[in-house]
Amino acid sequence: MKALNGSENVDILLVEDNRHDAELTMRALTKSELRNKLHWVEDGVEALDFVRCTGAYRGRDPNQFPKLILLDLKMPRLNGLDVVRELKSDERTRPIPVVVMTSSNQSRDITESYRLGVNGYVTKPIHFMDLAEAISQIAIYWLRVNQVP
């Protein structure tokens, strides 16, 4: 289930430690061709390895950035806010759009995410149909309408 398409041609990097949540997100994209361009990693350390082409992702083309990183906040090893801090303080990785997708709608998390330079913040809807609709809007905007360098 995990290594769906290898690590090349990735448009969406999904960073989510909860397998059930990750599978729901992927299921929401099943009906669109975007599903094939998603790569799932399970924590912040692996996310940084992917972006920086280190560790398990040594050998990945370092000039290929995803068009979107969908990032959970609460994760083991390195949490979402730390990932944002790392990516947004590095000139090279700063332009990659990062959208936090989390169950937290606490205004402290929202404000702190924006202050660290996150591009967007989405609170996960509880019902699958609403989640699927939100993910489809996220994918359409960030992959088809928005432009990256």
């Binding site: 000139e91 700063r94 332009p95 759009p97 959208v99 709608n105 205004s107 929202i110 404000t111 924006y114 202050r115 330079g117 591009n119 967007g120 913040y121 989405v122 609170t123 939100a134 809007q137 996220i138 359409i140 905007y141 960030w142 088809r144 309408v145 928005n146 432009q147 990256v148 360098p149």
Partner: protein, 148 residues
Amino acid sequence: MNDFADVEVLLVEDNQSDAEMTMRALDRANLINKVYWVKDGVEALEFVRCTGPYESRDCQQSLKLILLDLKMPRLDGLGVLRELKSGEQMCPVPIVVMTSSNQDHDIAEAYRLGVNGYVTKPVQFASFVESVSRIGMYWLMVNQAPTL
């Protein structure tokens, strides 16, 4: 008391016909009542910071989105980003550049300055409407803006 309480989108655009086209497109997406239009970067900063003609605006009233043109008189879009997205007073309101420029250095510079998104205006009206309505659906319906 506060005339700007309902404003969710601040449109910053010096070109009247482009501004009208954007508002027409938002109208089709049923989002028009919540848009306020200013004509350059100086006025945008006054609106966001509640100064000048916007002194009476409630600064705790947060916007969901600033749609920002790049080429404008007095203060251009990159100048607005520089003012709003740097330093301790960083403004957390999402800013999306919407411009006719798709030049790499504009895109790169906008992201370097901390823009949240960047959209190149499609030339055809139908594609333009589609693009504006997608922007509206994501930024106003799905994305969560910070409370100030």
